[in-house]
């Protein structure tokens, strides 16, 4: 197996100002259409009743297509 080397200016760990690399939550909130109407159990119920595969496979497929 080839050894992974990260040779860019990217620094590992939390020895730098982490705030500069974090996304403001408002960006995510702006994408929500209907706030607070449904809960996690509702999403699980839909997904568990409809989708019988693994989402990891869908993600893997998208990354490699």
């Amino acid at each position: 197996m080839t050894t992974v080397k990260i040779t860019s200016p990217v620094q590992s760990g939390r020895d730098k100002s982490i705030d500069s690399s974090l996304v403001p939550v408002e960006i995510v909130r702006s994408m929500i259409r209907d706030v607070g109407r449904y809960r996690v159990k509702d999403a699980r119920m839909i997904l568990n009743s409809r989708f019988k595969g693994k989402f990891g496979d869908i993600v893997h497929e998208s990354r490699n297509e």
Partner: protein
């Protein structure tokens, strides 16, 4: 797994989804999300994970597994959960900066990772996470190579 106070868990999208869909490894994700909500651990994701979540939901919508309205409900729920956890200081959403993209190019050519795999690896490395959680053996092996502790969430730690 016992809670380790304020340990950082970086979630690859393949692990993240298991909180919302019951599949192999979901019990581990439910436990980790509960630990985050109880203030014991902090979750980290890349902003690209949000793109991948929406993309995966849209894929199963296009395959008529879920309807458009169901797709919207699920997206809203997951995004709301992310917002809530982030506002409580229990989740960090990491940007994909140019320096991360630059570092990922080396991994693509030398380690033959996909573009997104490489971005996830570099973002996890930069985040300083204590554990990298995924359900992809090759991706996990690459994380181990750079010294991150990994957990294949489809197996016991």
């Amino acid at each position: 797994m016992n809670p380790e106070m304020n340990k950082l868990f970086f979630l690859d999208t393949s692990a993240f989804f298991k909180e919302y869909h019951d599949e192999e490894g979901s019990d581990h994700l439910h436990s980790i999300f509960n630990q985050a909500k109880n203030g014991s651990v902090i979750l980290c994701i890349s902003i690209i994970t949000i793109s991948e979540v929406l993309n995966a939901l849209d894929k199963i919508r296009k395959r008529r597994i879920i309807s458009a309205s169901e797709c919207q409900i699920i997206a809203d729920v997951i995004l709301s959960d992310i917002v809530e956890l982030t506002e409580q200081g229990r989740m960090e959403i990491h940007e994909v900066k140019a320096s991360i993209i630059r570092a990922s190019w080396d991994l693509i050519l030398t380690n033959h990772l996909s573009a997104i795999d490489a971005i996830q690896v570099v973002t996890a490395h930069e985040s300083g996470a204590d554990f990298f959680l995924a359900a992809d053996r090759y991706l996990l092996s690459q994380m181990q190579e750079i010294g991150l502790k990994t957990w294949n969430v489809e197996e016991n730690l």
